[in-house]
Symmetry: C2
Subunit: 814 residues, 2 copies
């Protein structure tokens, strides 16, 4: 397959003319074509109607300026190709009784999807005021991209949509997520050629290496080689046919091409090609299922090269429209000010012959209605598209059965994360078709390897002999690992959006890679809350480990706890952040998150061995409250404290406790209250977040006039932000990661950011004004202890023994 | 190229045995091989030394536990392949007088790079205490992954590095950035096969469509098919040879394969293959340069399939090591506790025969020293690797020449962004080999299209006839557009890291896509500040437009101004955020940013027409101060104000001024001070950021006891965070985007988030306690005005005329 050099200089590929296609069968009769073309026209008419019209929906009157929306919005560019693909698949759904959904990847392609849903009658069933008649059509047109209406993406309001596509790049990973453990489902997935340039999309083609043809369904991608983005040609439309074919062969697919603009031949070509692909998919599935031997076929995919803005006028005022980027958005923008443009629009709209395809009342005529499937077979009505309908609660073992036993607070040192892995293992075992764990190559490194004993890592790539040596790979498994946070997150989103449950685990610093994806998912959920018919789906659970305070050795690039800031900006109806201080709290929090719906839950927990503090019962109580005073670590019982030592996060709690121990040892009469926060949003006002406390509750825990030395896991400013209106807010001194680090010991990293025990104890002394000379001498002692520890760490390359193996209470010998 | 189905089931590909390679020449004599093998052994010995030893660097004594670091850190997995590639390129640098740098993509591969730099003598030149002798070698070993030392990536401390690789995925885009406008440079780029699974890397292979063979240099990628990630096989190592080849053909490259483990034949194969690639590159460049016709060749790339952990013991205790993921990190972790493992390590280290390759003093023997190039030809000494050395200040036109003239504050309505485009256009024109503009398909949409008249969009894909119709594509250009924020950002980073200048423009909501990349760049710059020999590079300039307040029509997915929160968490030595309120401020800020070095500058500015407020002189003064009182909008002259109306961001300023006008109209005796903030970090304490104000300065502007109604562009909490210690902080009421939006008019979007003029005026009234009944009646009036405006917007789909065309001062007629 070494090409001659001249192949690099490619032939010009115009999509114009009679269809050229890999499959040359002609399955459609002239009558079929007549009908399907009418259906296509009906769809295109609706798309233009949505973009332009607020009145005169059936063009019963000559089109006038008054019928046009004051602000014209919406995108035309990809509508034709998307509608074309959808409706040709309808024939196959009916013929082969397929279970299918449609994922719309190209940006702003909602008109295509909405028009299909309306033609299928689903839209009117869901929204009775958008009925299948003139009045309903007018309401349907007007609401599109109109204040108080719906957007130009396949937003949550869109029946059948699990993929909004507002941000590009996730259509393929979402589609795969939806078909995992849905063996009969085919997700017909339109991929924009703009979208295809994004990184997340470019790597997601490799998802086939993680798809089992027996237990999973199939994704049928249609790369929409539309030719243009907003203002540029697309890369994939401007490389040679040979390169394009090689690319998809390389990604592991069998590409089928459908190229052209001539309607009649394109109908035949698309119909035949989609059918060939469906038969291929069914053939591979049958082969694997009959033989009970899973393998990775070269799954079929389609390259549809059709003109951008297909079926629009080719030129207006001598400027290219169809087949050029000008057709991307509103194709004729100035209809209100240019009467000749309004006329062109009217002629264009009438060319779709609305009077032929809709009856006088505005209803699609029966012979066209018959082209669509019925009931849940309609892609816009498939329950997978409203995945909450399919969601079954997880079978959950009792998390208390996994409790770390016999906890002596601050003395027991045990591995929180690998213990929790047993709980996850058994959740996997009890939900073998309903729950998966995702992560970019780090499940083992994150001490969650125990899960593999219930469900191994799915792998449909080649197997080598050495995989037997602890590879934990399997054709059928429950853990999904690919070194692409984007793909893992996209799979998980697709999986829960289609009614199942899951969790992603990742290194804390690199979760920023999917900031934007998580943002978009939060926004999706937030809007779903406003859409009555959307049934709640499982929460998106994000477990962050390999956290900043143990990235001392990986260095500065691996130190970033700022994902919490990104999440905290999202709607309080959607986001939840938990920082369990120990192993039993981690169990309790995880149990809670996995049972919840319609949230994005973030759990931050270190993977190393840790001091343990709470028995299971105490942990459950603590996590239920979200924050609380730890009496066993406090000595202010029955009195006002002199200082509140507060912590949030496991490593910070460890250091805060050590600081408390130091203070109690060195200044026994200092009254210290120790507070730990598990649920970050407890800190915020109850009016700003459902978990928030009232000021009265706040004061009962933190006081309104005592110094609070608050040691936080992440950037300290987040705490200031969350507490800025609290009584006594000026008394809160927050320490956290302040972007200081390199190759350090854990202690040195803490010292650099002033989150270490010595700095915290000194902070307390500096703020308790009553200590006087006593404070000064203790302060000096603490400074010296800090210097000693630091010096020893630098000499040896590790922290001194007494730091590493510190337990509560602090040895009196200091 | 349709494969038979059986091809999908691939042959097992083991890297073991005699080399198999595309190129079969044998350029090396036995003597060459003997020497190069010795050089390789020296390099591998150094890698192990770094990971393990703190003493006994030349193994002059039997290896004992005391010689081993207390904490063993570092990664072995990719070291051999990387060092192997580097040193074979040395021969070609010498033979063909190449100008080359090395980019190390695989994670944690620093030992390979450091060992090469040390062998070349560069390391000792840069760090004289790491001299080329036993003492220096010991120091060199000890500092690696040791507290106070250097990390396991190619960190800024690494001579020759412009790519740390702490976060994976950017090696190819960085490499391309470095060769743009460096026609003689070859960037030898090692790509990890783990890294290759990331989205950003997967799409960056398409960069060839943006590389001009006449004016740009070349990237020679070596995909290191190492086989394993941390705990998993890699996808690309587990697909068939045919698929792998097809993939790179599809991406537009000509893949050359080098596969095997046998040292002698691998030396020949790699040497011959690299030479063939260099000759191909030079051939294409000559062809294009002689003919003066640029074209896109099928550039060569190499697939190097060698065992992970190559040259380690194959098994230890019957567990696979070499050729398996266990060799990823520290290959034999328990040497301190297992004497037999210590012995294995010693035997292994001695197998590299340190006594043969280093003389008694520890210096590389002369016949090996000769293998490396000399002076700046050494890849670790190339000035491109310390790009600040090459940086020339931009030739800047005077930004004042582009001033929006005759500004009547709050009355002139002019397009800030498209005006600024003229300034950028002329910067492009004056710096045709030194400055580029990057952006994902949005330069035109962002109203910066004027730039094309100085430098078009680079496009080496196929050209179609219709491109003449406003395509603005050119083989040689200055604007880089690909629908991948990752690739654009990576190119820009590579471009500035190698000594040039640039700017990326992007839609505000989708800049979150590169949160993590920007984080990493901030961290790089921050550390560079600590490395004495690193010369400052141009700032990374990020221009955000299509901002949240004008995403009313694109809907909720397009509304996210939270990038500022991510940036604000980074080191104050590095980050700068500017929100110019109008066109002349935008010019001034842009000029400032483009002249600066070693910062990440974020500029947020809307692209629509806007009210203008400041003449050029006033703008310059205002931007220089960073914030200030606008006297022309205030009526508290010479007195204490009753309320401070403050704003940051162009749309928020517009609404704050409108609120001020309403208040002045309705309550003429209310004393209002109007403050605008351009430089966000002015708000922070001067001890926390170099731009910060003292409390005294703060009070002189904001007062310490008057209500402050602060209208902010982004999430309001950021202002609380920045000002939490300020005098009178509890008086600050901040409005901003609160994650409320859908399809709205601009006014409705503002009202939903309470950033509109009416809400702001009401906020002021609610906080000025002295107003009494007068306040109540005005409040009611404002509420009614708000409802009227909202109702009209909902009916018409656009905001009412008086809102859209509002100017200062507010019409008295309200």
């Amino acid at each position: 397959m070494v090409f001659a050099e001249e192949d690099v200089k490619i032939e010009s590929i115009s999509p114009y003319g009679v269809a050229r296609s890999t499959v040359t069968e002609k399955p459609l009769s002239p009558e079929d074509i007549r009908k399907i073309d009418a259906y296509f026209r009906a769809s295109m008419y609706l798309c233009l109607g949505m973009i332009y019209l607020r009145e005169n929906p059936l063009l019963k009157e000559p089109l006038a300026k008054e019928h046009i929306k004051a602000r014209i919005l919406g995108h035309w560019g990809s509508d034709a190709g998307q509608a074309f693909t959808w409706m040709h698949f309808n024939r196959l759904i009916k013929k082969y009784d397929l279970d299918a959904i449609f994922v719309s990847g190209p940006g702003h392609g909602a008109p295509a999807v909405l028009s299909q849903s309306y033609l299928e009658g689903v839209y009117s069933e869901v929204y009775p005021n958008m009925s299948e008649d003139e009045t309903g059509m007018q309401a349907f047109f007007k609401q599109f991209s109109f204040p108080g209406g719906i957007g130009s993406h396949a937003t949550p309001e869109t029946p059948g949509s699990i993929h909004e596509g507002g941000e590009l790049g996730y259509s393929i990973s979402h589609a795969f997520g939806a078909v995992f453990d849905h063996p009969n489902l085919i997700t017909l997935t339109m991929v924009g050629d703009g979208e295809a340039e994004t990184g997340p999309l470019a790597t997601s083609w490799h998802s086939t290496k993680f798809l089992n043809p027996i237990t999973d369904g199939a994704v049928l991608p249609v790369l929409h080689l539309n030719g243009y983005k907003i203002n540029n040609p697309t890369i994939l439309a401007r490389i040679s046919h040979k390169e394009l074919e090689a690319l998809f062969v390389g990604y592991g697919w069998e590409p089928y091409f459908v190229e052209g603009s001539d309607m009649e031949s394109m109908h035949q070509a698309m119909s035949a090609t989609l059918e060939a692909c469906v038969l291929k998919i069914r053939g591979y599935q049958k082969q694997a299922r009959d033989s009970k031997k899973a393998f990775r076929p070269r799954w079929p995919m389609i390259v549809l090269r059709s003109p951008k803005g297909w079926s629009a006028p080719r030129k207006i005022d001598d400027k290219l429209l169809e087949g050029f980027w000008r057709s991307h958005q509103v194709p004729i923008p100035a209809v209100a000010s240019k009467p000749d443009h309004l006329k062109i629009l009217e002629t264009w709209m009438r060319s779709y012959k609305p009077e032929e395809v809709f009856d006088k009342e505005g209803k699609l005529i029966p012979e066209l209605k018959e082209l669509a499937p019925t009931g849940n077979a309609r892609m816009s009505a498939n329950p997978v598209g409203n995945g909450g309908q399919l969601r079954k609660p997880l079978h959950m073992p009792n998390f208390k059965d996994y409790a770390l036993p016999n906890i002596e607070p601050g003395i027991s040192s045990l591995p929180s994360m690998s213990n929790m892995a047993h709980f996850l293992r058994d959740i996997v075992a009890k939900n073998m078709t309903n729950f998966r764990v995702f992560g970019p190559d780090e499940t083992e490194s994150n001490k969650l390897g125990e899960i593999y004993s219930a469900g191994k890592k799915v792998w449909l790539g080649e197997y080598f002999e050495e995989d037997a040596d602890g590879g934990n790979l399997a054709l059928e498994g429950r853990v999904m690992e690919m070194l692409s946070e984007h793909t893992c997150e996209g799979w998980l989103e697709g999986y829960i959006l289609s009614g199942r449950h899951g969790l992603i685990n990742s290194y804390e610093p690199f979760i920023h890679i999917i900031d934007s994806m998580v943002n978009q998912h939060c926004k999706w959920i937030e809007k779903c809350n406003e859409v009555e018919w959307r049934v709640k789906i499982a929460s998106l659970n994000i477990l962050l480990t390999a956290t900043v305070w143990r990235q001392d050795h990986n260095g500065f690039t691996h130190q970033d706890p700022g994902f919490l800031d990104v999440v905290a900006n999202k709607s309080p109806e959607v986001v939840r952040i938990y920082l369990p201080p120990d192993g039993n709290c981690l169990l309790s929090v995880t149990d809670h998150c996995l049972r919840s719906t319609n949230y994005v839950n973030v759990i931050v927990a270190d993977k190393q061995d840790h001091l343990q503090y709470l028995s299971m019962d105490a942990a459950l109580e603590h996590c239920t409250k979200g924050l609380g005073i730890w009496d066993w670590a406090s000595n202010d019982q029955g009195q006002e404290p002199d200082v509140v030592m507060a912590s949030c996060g496991d490593v910070p709690t460890h250091e805060s406790l050590a600081a408390t121990a130091l203070l109690r040892d060195l200044i026994p009469d200092l009254k210290i209250r120790f507070v730990n926060v598990v649920d970050l949003f407890k800190l915020i006002d109850h009016e700003d977040h459902p978990h928030g406390m009232t000021d009265r509750e706040w004061t009962s825990v933190f006081t309104d006039n005592k110094p609070i030395i608050f040691n936080f896991h992440s950037y300290p400013w987040l705490i200031h932000r969350l507490t800025y209106k609290r009584p006594g807010q000026i008394n809160i001194h927050v320490t956290g990661y302040k972007e200081k680090g390199n190759i350090d010991t854990p202690l040195e990293l803490a010292i650099r950011n002033k989150t270490d025990r010595y700095s915290l104890a000194i902070d307390a002394i500096d703020r308790v004004t009553s200590l006087g000379n006593k404070g000064s001498s203790v302060r000096e002692k603490l400074m010296n202890l800090q210097i000693d520890a630091k010096t020893k760490a630098f000499e040896d390359g590790i922290d001194p023994e007494f730091i590493r193996n510190w337990t509560w209470p602090y040895p009196k010998s200091t």
